[in-house]
Amino acid sequence: MSETWMIAGGWMAAGLTIFLFSFLYRDNPFFKAAEHLYLGAGMGWWFQVYLFNIWKPKVWEPLLSGDFFVLIPAVLGLSLVTQFIPRISWISRYGFTFMMGYGAGLAIPATLSTDFMSQIAGAIQPFTALATMTPMMIFNSLVVAGGTICVLFYFFFSVEHKGAVKKISNIGIYFLMIYFGAAFGNTVMARFSLLYGRFDDLYTFSGANYFYASQILLIALVAYFILHSFLGGKKTEEEEPAH
């Protein structure tokens, strides 16, 4: 990739990034254009990946070499699209039922083994090595096993939650809260990491080797907002502030 293309890329990426962030201040045409571009670019990327990784090598080329067997899944797949034509939309059921049958058949034994049996075993199994466990390990294993049971009580028992059942399911709620709290804490970190990624790129594009793309585009957008508010900048319905 030549240097010119790299610089052009920096300007393109910095521009699109800043346009999308501009929504945080106020909805505007630059954001809207970038948002729609995202929808199209996403579809375009997926389309070419499907085309060159599956449709061409797995369907088209086998057909050209005389392997007509591949027509069966191809027709089943294409049948899905009939969903958009109400009169013949029932044809899509052939593709859907095949996918559902395959998926359900694969999921039943795997889920039973991985998320059900193994998890029950996981709660009990630590106690088989009781003699070698420290008091803390025993306590932790009890908390995991007991906590799991309490959460299950909260979810499952369709009997009225009162008396002992209510107490147990209430304890279950606390375990769920700790899990959700941990998940929230981690979500904050995850979201900040994504923002860091974008800022890091903007910082890269702000260098002299990119001719200060980030700064210039940011200033241009700020100028647009200032001009817009001066020149008949009444708030239209579609340009409400972002709050």
């Binding site: 990426a13 929504f23 579809m43 809260m177």
Partner: protein, 222 residues
């Protein structure tokens, strides 16, 4: 007609599903051959499922442009974005690198799709902060427990937070990283395992209902 429209599709889901379940437990050459065939077919059928999203998006934006609906000009950008990926792909035969050089397709990914996709999700960081400020209420004991777990995680995952913990609570002899490890390995495991077992039972029941044709909403109406 009902036979073709309804009964054959239901037979497909039942036969495919039951044979898939059986093949899990029967390690025979026939079952392996059957699963291999289904895998290859499923791979291709799924690839066509993508067309549903594509047709739907194009159709709705084509409608907007045709009707000259409010903001129809923006819909043109959907097609521009699509072409910005597909035209370079056609020119390069889907290759992002040729002889160690990035092609126009690779360029489109790095500077258009990458920037757009990652920024769309990065924006959420701003909203999580303002939501935390406006809506995170410690009103009950349960909310307090949630807050404590979140607080420890947010504080202890970064070095500065660890330093603050050590200077304020270092005397306890417990580092915040140890407490995070305990939360993640003990009470959070109990909470998640309960959810996991619950979802597993739900998924198995739903799958059985699909296979036996009790659940058939996905087929649409007659």
């Amino acid at each position: 007609m009902k036979f073709i429209k309804k009964q054959i599709p239901l037979a497909i889901v039942m036969v495919t599903g039951l044979l898939m379940v059986a093949s899990y437990y029967i390690p025979h050459k026939y079952s392996v051959d059957y699963v291999e065939l289904m895998n290859k077919w499923e791979n291709i059928v799924s690839a066509f499922a993508f067309l549903l999203g594509l047709v739907s998006l194009f159709y709705s934006h084509y409608g907007k442009i045709k009707r000259k609906a409010d903001g129809w000009g923006y819909s043109l950008f959907v097609y521009i974005g699509f072409l910005a990926m597909v035209v370079p792909a056609m020119m390069t035969d889907g290759r992002q690198m040729v002889d160690g050089q990035v092609t126009s397709l690779g360029w489109s990914f790095r500077y258009i799709y990458n920037a757009l996709s990652s920024t769309m999700f990065a924006v959420l960081a701003f909203y999580i902060v303002s939501t935390a400020y406006r809506s995170f209420r410690i009103k009950s004991r349960q909310a307090f427990v949630l807050f404590v777990a979140a607080f420890v995680l947010i504080l202890g995952k970064v070095p500065l937070g660890q330093m603050i913990w050590d200077s304020l609570l270092g005397w306890t002899g417990q580092g915040v990283a140890d407490i995070i490890e305990w939360i993640m390995q003990v009470p959070a495991v109990a909470g998640k395992r309960g959810i996991m077992i619950g979802i597993a039972i739900g998924a198995i029941v739903t799958s059985l209902k699909i296979i036996f044709g009790i659940e058939k909403q996905y087929m649409g109406k007659d």
